[in-house]
């Protein structure tokens, strides 16, 4: 597995938590979410990946949306995190931290072979 594959797999795994984390700071539309993620080091997330994920999060009750038509041109679909979404974000952040800690320990601890 090369570096690109690792990045892709990790991005896929982290993306739901990252999107919830962005929305925990306030509502945002799809393109803005992708831009914030990119500013924080994620590879550019395309609409074809982002919107199906947002739909899944919405189906799970973690996110809600509303359409805003306050500017000329196409409206904006604004997404906001729900209370359930905030709880899920806390749980997933804790789970991610446990895995990260476990990986660090495995890398730094010499294993005794039986």
């Amino acid at each position: 597995m090369d570096e690109g594959d690792w990045n892709q797999e990790l991005t896929r795994a982290a993306l739901p938590q990252a999107v919830l984390a962005v929305l925990s700071h306030g509502e945002a539309h799809g393109y803005a979410i992708a831009e914030i993620l990119r500013q924080h080091g994620f590879t550019r997330i395309k609409g074809g990946t982002l919107y199906p994920l947002l739909k899944r999060l919405e189906d799970q009750g973690l996110v809600v949306h509303s359409w805003q038509h306050d500017q000329p041109g196409p409206g904006r679909k604004q997404f906001a995190i729900t209370e359930r979404g905030r709880n899920t974000l806390e749980d997933s952040a804790a789970a991610w931290q446990r895995i990260s800690t476990a990986l660090t320990e495995i890398r730094s601890t010499r294993q005794e072979r039986k």
């Binding site: 539309h29 799809g30 393109y31 803005a32 609409g47 074809g48 919107y51 359409w67 679909k77």
Partner: protein, 130 residues
């Protein structure tokens, strides 16, 4: 416009309701406008993007057209085969030496008609604000 038509067609054959299709097209328009790039660059081909949506049980109008054509073809074939032994009427006197060609024409016509129905059906209007 062509991308939206292709996407609407592919979503229809996956059984999505017209209001879901309208909302998806609104998302694509809004995101492409914000990104300042063509929809295909952001969402991939219409066919690929449509595959992200789970298939629904509902069937499109085009599917109904194909189904009706297939049923008519089967009915014609059955009648054409039964006329000779029961009523001594040979449909070959009417349709020529190949007895079942009208059934084939019905099926082909239905497939083409079904495609045209789903592809050229007007795009659904914008989704109402939630």
């Amino acid at each position: 416009m062509s991308y939206e038509r292709d996407l609407a067609f592919n979503l229809r054959i996956r059984g999505l309701a017209e209001d879901q299709i309208a909302e998806t097209l609104d998302e694509v328009r809004a995101h492409a406008a914000a990104a300042g790039s063509p929809a295909e660059d952001e969402f991939g081909s219409a066919q690929e993007y449509a595959k992200q949506f789970p298939k629904q049980k509902a069937r499109s109008r085009g599917y109904a057209v194909v189904l009706i054509g297939a049923v008519l073809a089967i009915i014609y074939a059955a009648v054409a085969m039964l006329l000779l032994p029961f009523l001594r009427i040979d449909v070959r006197d009417l349709v020529g030496p190949i007895r079942l060609w009208p059934a084939l024409v019905l099926i082909l016509g239905a497939v083409v008609g079904g495609f045209l129905t789903d592809y050229f059906r007007p795009l659904p209007g914008s989704a109402k604000p939630a």
